[in-house]
Symmetry: D2
Amino acid sequence: MSKNLRLIVLAIFVAASSFGQDRERADRRIEFPDVPGYLTLKCDLHQHTVFSDGAVWPDIRVQEAVRDGLDAISLTEHLEYQPHQDDIPHPDRNRSYHLALHNALEHDLLIIHGSEITRDMPPGHANAIFIQDANPMLHDDALEAFREARRQGAFIFWNHPNWTAQAPDGIARLSEMHRQLIADDLLDGIEVVNETTMSEEAFQIAVDHDLTIMGTSDIHGLVDWMFEVPEGGHRPVTLVFAKERTHESIREALFAGRTVAWFRNDLVGKAELLQPLLEASIRVVGAAYQENTTVAIVTIDNVSDASFVLLNEGEHSFHEHNDLVTLEAHTITELAVKTKTWAPELELHFRVLNALTAPRAHPTITLTVAIE
Amino acid sequence: MSKNLRLIVLAIFVAASSFGQDRERADRRIEFPDVPGYLTLKCDLHQHTVFSDGAVWPDIRVQEAVRDGLDAISLTEHLEYQPHQDDIPHPDRNRSYHLALHNALEHDLLIIHGSEITRDMPPGHANAIFIQDANPMLHDDALEAFREARRQGAFIFWNHPNWTAQAPDGIARLSEMHRQLIADDLLDGIEVVNETTMSEEAFQIAVDHDLTIMGTSDIHGLVDWMFEVPEGGHRPVTLVFAKERTHESIREALFAGRTVAWFRNDLVGKAELLQPLLEASIRVVGAAYQENTTVAIVTIDNVSDASFVLLNEGEHSFHEHNDLVTLEAHTITELAVKTKTWAPELELHFRVLNALTAPRAHPTITLTVAIE
Amino acid sequence: MSKNLRLIVLAIFVAASSFGQDRERADRRIEFPDVPGYLTLKCDLHQHTVFSDGAVWPDIRVQEAVRDGLDAISLTEHLEYQPHQDDIPHPDRNRSYHLALHNALEHDLLIIHGSEITRDMPPGHANAIFIQDANPMLHDDALEAFREARRQGAFIFWNHPNWTAQAPDGIARLSEMHRQLIADDLLDGIEVVNETTMSEEAFQIAVDHDLTIMGTSDIHGLVDWMFEVPEGGHRPVTLVFAKERTHESIREALFAGRTVAWFRNDLVGKAELLQPLLEASIRVVGAAYQENTTVAIVTIDNVSDASFVLLNEGEHSFHEHNDLVTLEAHTITELAVKTKTWAPELELHFRVLNALTAPRAHPTITLTVAIE
Amino acid sequence: MSKNLRLIVLAIFVAASSFGQDRERADRRIEFPDVPGYLTLKCDLHQHTVFSDGAVWPDIRVQEAVRDGLDAISLTEHLEYQPHQDDIPHPDRNRSYHLALHNALEHDLLIIHGSEITRDMPPGHANAIFIQDANPMLHDDALEAFREARRQGAFIFWNHPNWTAQAPDGIARLSEMHRQLIADDLLDGIEVVNETTMSEEAFQIAVDHDLTIMGTSDIHGLVDWMFEVPEGGHRPVTLVFAKERTHESIREALFAGRTVAWFRNDLVGKAELLQPLLEASIRVVGAAYQENTTVAIVTIDNVSDASFVLLNEGEHSFHEHNDLVTLEAHTITELAVKTKTWAPELELHFRVLNALTAPRAHPTITLTVAIE
């Protein structure tokens, strides 16, 4: 009876997921499951509006975020770069934040107060978020801006260290000044992902110096156009593993380094954070032997936006797949596993190629399957 | 001038390919490029009609093949299994072939005379193609059927050695009888791919015993339904590398072992055959440095039906990709390569994960790129 | 409270229907609602298999029908035209029926015993369905075939009277022989729709002589190919308004003339049958005034496969539409109606252009709307 | 020979158009053909940015227009309504125009200088375009604003006369003041289409008083979101029939009343302008008799964005259609016409239901077809 019920529920899942197989998402909301002990919050903490060099009023950023199903955003206007100043002479660098706060009132979206310290390299650009007041961060001395941010309790991260305008070879490198910032506890994170770019070198710096991994859109124009959302694309976000859906919890998680960057189809983060995210995303929902065979049909549900690209590293071979298996986003996949002898349980081992725990290092996942 | 022309042509390619980015193929024809010295012929050499246990008249098989852009098919009716015999008492086992031959007259499709020797395991089922007359192959003694096929000059391959009806664990295994067939030169090929299944063990047998690798649809019902063609699926085929588009050339190529099986998104074949196919499919069509940087934009055209799943094993990191890069089928991809110093040429090295030269063994490809 | 619930249910409908807005149907099943007093049964009562000049075994016809969500089919092999006779010498003209009956055992599909009397014009071709035995209908004298069908209690209809092979101008015309058949009560229906064709002249004959309106696929090859099902097409069917989902009920309904033909996007039938079908298909599910205006938002759900093309003939003009309004299939449409003064109720009057009660005659529909 | 060439060209057209059959347009550019003597220019002459109550910087309006393939736009900021004034205290009402002018430098897009006179009803809102300077139009007396616009040579049109905020029943009505404006030659056009609304009453006013018919987006947020562009929607535009693609020519055409509004799938305009547009859009590209019949296959190419909904009012009936025929946008349709006797030429007469020459009045089109 309960088995029948399970089959029915499964059938509904399969039917529902087949709707979702459209490459162009019916729903553009970014979706990843929570992990044990934490909520998985979708955050885009580097954005611009007309109040620095962006092209939209803050309300559009709020609406984009709501459409994308984000939990938190920060409008990080350039402190020192104000190309619209002739038209918007507003001296208050917090104005964008206050407008967004107002626009977000009717939505379930957290607005995080932030600002971008905008300097030549070094140190290049850096975002300070969870600030109290952007205005005192305006300083001739770049270091003073960092110190003021720290005084305000801000979380500070290095923006696009791979930006070719400041690093013509696109290679993120620590300068002496950056080493000093880290040594002085003035740098907490680094963008491994910025807009349409990803940096293996920035990733290595994050690993080596225990900086929080950040992925941001750095959007200036429209999210839909830049990231081709109607064609199935999405903006990069930082998945933040927070105890609660509050400002304070996000801040705590960022300082604790509990993030994974979501970029194109890749998940970039520390092994201990990726592992539970993979396990929450990839769920074995059933398994049964095909009649009169020792071929077990294992039903796997991928409840995340990532299409997982798996390479079989286990002992069993598959009946209907080679060793490369893709679990499409929000889709149920049936895997026919040849167990050779009847067994109540089997283990599957995969390398997850679209997840990275370090440059070119991919985690493994083990699925333990109970067979009916 | 010629550079402009190239850019225009490229732009047209890009525009055209963007039409093709639809997951549901505008055109269901199976397309792979020719390789140096050989035509790449798309062949499905294991099929059934109402003249054994299939559900359609031979003309439907011809039309399906034409729609799929195949070069050659064989209707391999079961010699010994004739469930429609009450209705179709025709004693001539060549009837299906003759009807298809007639139906194919108005199409550019080769019909290869074949038949399926249908026995219990061992030896299980085997196809003999390029036969002269199926009738004398009907024999009490299975071995006599193989010998008669050989006398007629047939190419003989073992069908679905992983079939769970004959191998309940789905594992392809050589019996003594199979070893004898090989020793007696009565077995030339083996289905590594049959219908919706793929067998690592059959693949290993092919490698160990130098049997020609075969991939077939073994279709009984409708190709469109079984392989979900409207949703973007395709039937498995054997890509045959033949000197000419003739019966004799295909036969020669099969005996010489020049095949790659195309199954789901995987290409399965010997390294020396996969290599030129990958090189013909993946074409560098341009490369130029981004202004004021040492980031080279390399433009790669994938002119095949396979979406290549590549893992970066070269020295360079990418500006807009992680180490996992997918070249979508019939699509141009731009890869931003960080060369660090300016250079007139660069080399890219990838592991090709959706190609297999042996079970779980993936070939590499090197792209040598001249930069403008 | 109940109003909120209604809004939630409505929201779910809207969400669900938006999935269905894909031109390529997620589900190919033909769907029309039942009407007061009758079930709306989807029937395709003119089809062929290998047992006359078709290209598939009967099981494919059963599977196509199941995929199309049909209630009843008839395999109406040509009595006198047997091009596969060399291969299928079966003398029993009922064989196709018996095989289909067997194949349909595991499905919820009614198989109606039928046969096609296949003569030169006049009388051309005619189907006799609900027969007992096809064999005695084989007669030198065509009229005898009709009489035998009548003796067996068959429902008899004239096939494709517009067929250019028998009527080179494509114009359906009654010959003396047809008039005699009608006078002698040997002709009950007429195909107004056959395969890809529709005949205004056949429609007029049906109206003038009170013949039952039939629409059939007359499929010989594959339904999916002929009617481009994957691209959103469908085979023509006869919607039969039957008291129960039984052979006897369908037969009764056919003799009583209770049918509508469904062809492309058109519904063709008598006014008294179209009217309830339109009313069951087009449902007003809510209406409310926009705040501070006399513009009423009327929510209309189209629960049928037809996209209704409506021309406004009522007194009210619309705020967001011209007078041509299309209610897409399986979609909810919101219509902003300018009532000028506040009123608890309003009436909408439309001409339904994709429905026909006679050649070039379109019925009207009145929607009475209670406004909250 | 030339016949073969024509067939090849036709085949290419058919192939190309089949790509375009996707409901979601591959290309969002609005496309209508030129008409004899005039270019058909796509203009959206009522839009807003952050410089009044819009949500984007002027550059986004330029980019939207370029993506939509427009020829000309006007950013018509509210003169008297400046909700962003705290942030943008700019006293120059021309600022938005100048920024757009700068942004458009690298595009082939005409920027027309305009402004919105924003008053209570009457007179409500009105746009003055082709002005020299918006600032002097700021006046306590609304009439003075109109007079100043006229002095500057502006084309003046009444905005959204059906706006429920100013006309709670959504009915456009001329007040005494409007009649006076018309009498004093201070009103040249009227929005029959504004944003998502269409007004039969405004249409009647345009007809009665010979005002130029305008259709505008009145966009404040994002065009893509408001008009669901990714799902196949488009913004309303005014098609302007101009002698050249210049400011002066557009101005001349507007004063001469040479416009058609394009809204949803409807074309709204005077008969003498719609007629040539329909004729340029709907092209007979070939016709030939089916072998051994008097059924002529007429091939019709619709080269416009409108899907024409045609009702057959000619003498001939069709072989594969009822009397309602839809010519899908950018698609070739084959119409099988039953001519009864062989003839070298035939005429088709249709009512065009998605075109309007007055409220609920639809033009006819005659296609004269030469048959090979």
